[in-house]
């Protein structure tokens, strides 16, 4: 218990003094996860919204597929990306394995289904409200996609936040494709796993606090947005 409180104090000290190792790890984590979220948003939001408005053969199948992929185990995504990027793999020549780029790729693949599926549900609600009016104004389902993206700009952030939450909290994928290399690919989650196993609880705890704070902010923001949407004006 004494060990624990001692570690906790050291952890707080690390956070408050903005320890350079700590900030480096946090910075890399944010860079990787935010990049993944940016790409997943650029792909997932239009994809999800298109699935809400367009009708085409196989639409149900695509939707089921995306929903199914929402719960992908990060380690398996990591493994697949590892196989793709490893030297003998199809994309091996790019030399991306054990780089932050590889981690971004893995996290992007992990969260595209989440962002797309959640934004589809949101866009569907909006489309059921707008459909008749937009059709009456001469708007085609394809033309409605940018309209829904714009008019859903607040509520769609919940889909993006869910993706960000998932990306920043996962450890399996970044560990496998990043390799957890000090000063290069060590992010918050992989550092916590490593430091804990080495018995270096203070850095692990410091990173844990920051990760919890981040997760708290993401989910609280998401709640506020959903609450406002329920009130009707977002």
């Amino acid at each position: 218990m004494n060990d624990f409180s001692h570690a906790l104090w050291l952890a707080l000290e690390l956070v408050i003094s903005l320890d350079p190792d700590l900030t480096e790890i946090v910075g890399l984590s944010l860079t990787v996860s935010l990049s993944a979220v940016a790409i997943a948003t650029a792909v997932g939001l239009p994809l999800g919204t298109a699935l809400a408005t367009l009708t085409f053969p196989g639409r149900k199948l695509v939707m089921a597929l995306l929903s199914g992929l929402m719960g992908l185990p990060p380690v398996v995504v990591g493994l697949v990306v590892y196989l793709l990027l490893s030297r003998s793999g199809p994309l091996g020549t790019l030399g991306l394995l054990y780089t932050p780029e590889a981690m971004i790729i893995a996290q992007t693949l992990l969260i595209i289904p989440i962002v797309a599926s959640l934004s589809r549900q949101t866009a569907e609600d909006l489309w059921s409200e707008y459909r008749e009016q937009l059709t009456s104004l001469g708007c085609s389902p394809a033309r409605a996609i940018p309209t829904l993206l714009y008019d859903g700009r607040y509520r769609l952030t919940t889909a993006v936040l869910a993706g960000f939450g998932r990306a920043s909290a996962e450890v399996g994928a970044v560990m496998i494709v990043g390799g957890n290399i000090d000063h290069l690919t060590r992010v918050m989650t992989s550092a916590i796993a490593l430091e804990t196993s080495r018995g270096e609880l203070s850095l692990a705890l410091a990173l844990g606090m920051i990760l919890i704070l981040l997760s708290f902010m993401i989910n609280a923001t998401s709640y506020i947005v959903r609450d406002r949407v329920k009130e009707g004006n977002l």
Binding site: Y130, E132, L137, T147
Partner: protein, 254 residues
Amino acid sequence: MTSPSPTPRPTSPNRTQPRILPLRIEGLSYEKEGKTLVREISCRLEAGKRTLVLGPNGAGKSLFLRLAHGLITPTGGTIRWADTPTAQAHAMVFQRPVMLRRSVAANLDYALGLAGLDKATLRERRDEVLELTGLTALRDRQARVLSGGEQQRLALARAWSLRPQVLFLDEPTASLDPSATERIEELIETIHDSGTKIVLSTHNMRQARRLGDEILFFSEGCLCEQSPADLFFSAPQSEAAQRFLDSEYHALHR
């Protein structure tokens, strides 16, 4: 049948476009899950006259408007416009106004943008319709925080800005209080005076009296009669209409 020729206003329907009226509807039916919701409707809608689609709730009035406007594909019969209408040649206003999550002005810009207007014409048309509908002071407000009456006025403005030859209105005042209803009815009159054909559904007999030149009376998915308004209210031709008017008078004078 001659249509009155109203004084041309800035918002008059686009005269350079082919005239889409009269609208000829023959044997129009719509079935869903084995149930016939409207049955074998045949009528002819002329320019100029305000057509009131009257009937009790569930008579098929809304569905009829949606079929005529092209939002729903009929399962039987034909809808024939005199000339092929463009997307904006006929417009529709719904019972519950659908407001985009944007400002009042941006709601109009959106509709005019879809109609393919260039920026200068668009701004001109938007400002003009804001003025004519008394919404200029509200132009920068978020549309969704307006009152129900103001929202419906914006919905009318948005439809009118497209200069449609025909405007379908589905119970446009059913969720409004009397004073908001009055303003909306005044605006509908103005739109009628500008030369746009009004086709309005209502279950309110008094509204039909106030606004109607001719009545299409619906009951249980059928069109029971199409009569000039004065004839309809003094001597309805169909039994269903007779019953409806009797019960309405009773309700009034109870």
